[in-house]
């Protein structure tokens, strides 16, 4: 357990010491959301209608942005090999890395989301559910992301490939995330999509580390 926490703390420390670099995902999120009114026009009714979807899609893309560096640096400087040789199973290492990734990218996105929702004139009865759905959904994205990052870690140009691998897999997260927010706004109830999201999180917690660890083992051979 202490090794697990050490990895988490180390990864967060590395990200924070990167200065503005650690905020890239959030800055991307804000800019991408800000592009939508420029693209579709500033009409408030339209923005109200599309706000949940825009916020969720941009959060998804922002999470994707920082995945490439999840294992890459550790793989290239040999740290990953050292960690793999240690007592902690690789699956747990993946979980620790995913947790650190979520704390440095997912959490800031959730904190930013309400501000952006105000800017998009989103209906206020969706705010709480928006944050809650992101709170459950973004860890799934980080976990699915570890699979893509692990599969491409030994490739020189894996960055673009990750998006191709991971985006189709994250379709359900997007659907139920937006479904929950819209359910809250239109009074259909957000309970069932949120529960399905939570079930997805449990499944991803169990399955994603296994797949990622298998991919990492292959990369380390």
């Amino acid at each position: 357990m202490s090794i697990f926490l050490t990895i988490v703390r180390r990864d967060i420390g590395l990200a924070v010491r990167g200065g503005i670099g650690s905020l890239v995902a959030v800055v991307f999120f804000i800019i991408a959301v800000a592009l939508f009114p420029l693209g579709v026009g500033p009409e408030l009714n339209l923005l109200t209608r599309i706000a949940p979807g825009v916020l969720w899609v941009c959060a998804l893309l922002a999470t994707m942005l920082s995945l490439d560096s999840l294992f890459r640096e550790d793989y290239e400087d040999g740290n990953l090999e050292q960690i793999a040789l240690g007592v902690l199973p690789l699956e747990a290492v993946v979980l620790a890395k995913a947790l650190a990734h979520w704390i440095t990218t997912g959490l800031p996105l959730i904190l930013c989301a309400p501000v952006l929702a105000v800017m998009l004139n989103m209906s206020t009865n969706g705010f709480a559910v928006l944050m809650l759905s992101l709170l459950i959904g973004t860890p799934i994205l980080s976990l699915i992301g570890t699979v893509g990052a692990a599969l491409t870690v030994s490739l020189r140009r894996g960055g673009v490939l990750i998006a191709l691998l991971v985006l189709p897999l994250s379709v359900p997260v997007l659907i139920f995330g937006v479904g929950a927010v819209e359910g809250a706004i239109f009074g259909l109830g957000a309970r069932s999509p949120l529960m399905i999201l939570a079930a997805g999180l449990v499944a991803a917690l169990v399955l994603a580390p296994v797949a990622s660890a298998a991919a990492l083992k292959m990369a380390l051979e």
Binding site: V147, L151, T152, S154, L155, R157, G158, L161, L164, L165, L167, P168, L169, V171, P172, I175, F176, G179, E182, L188, I196, G200, L207, A211, A214, A215, M218, E221
Partner: protein
Amino acid sequence: MVKRTKKRAGWHFLANPARFMRFSRVIFPWVAGLSVLTIVAGLVLGLGVVPPDYQQGDAYRIMFVHVPSAWMGLFIYGVMAVSSAVGFIWRHPLADLVAKSSAPIGACFTFICLFTGSLWGEPMWGTWWVWDARLTSMLVLLFLYLGYIALHAAYQDPTKGARAAGILALVGVINLPIVKYSVNWWNTLHQPATISKIDAPSIDPTMAAPLMLMIVGFMAYYATVLIIRLRAEIASRRIRNLRLAQVGA
């Protein structure tokens, strides 16, 4: 079903590439002949003999290509997942090759399914594309195929590429039902049933016959192309080994 049991019986037998080469040479003319015969018969029956639909007229005839290719798109992904698992667990060399060689064929079938569906949709629904649940999940399936092919191609070392892509295929096959289910749910929530597919609950037996012929034909076609691709893969691997041996010597 028959196909799978046959494969299981030949599982270890075919692990030896030389044996596979001999075996495939024997069965190749048969599957190729079967696919040509059934596809020609299915097309002649479907396009010429079967009467037009009372609602859709002649436009429904695209079904004889559309439905089998949708079927094949899903079936081949299943084959890829099963053979990836076999390749991953037992390090069966041929299973990896089956998965790799199937991917472009499956992607083509999925694309044909989407393309013909779009052509069918225009006269029926008045639009080339609707975000119907089935269309959307087939589109995601196409993306999964493309991701698999891209990942496999990105690796220099084919055995590593096979393992990485195999992991992706297995993750994808777990995810695919979830995608299918979530897209269904999404569609019923978002889209009012303004454009509903014209239902054909009971298909007329005269129409079912060409459809069955086409499905058998597409299956045999898949087997034919798969054999060609596998033989090419084995030959190219052999050439690679010979080259490496030459360099080593």
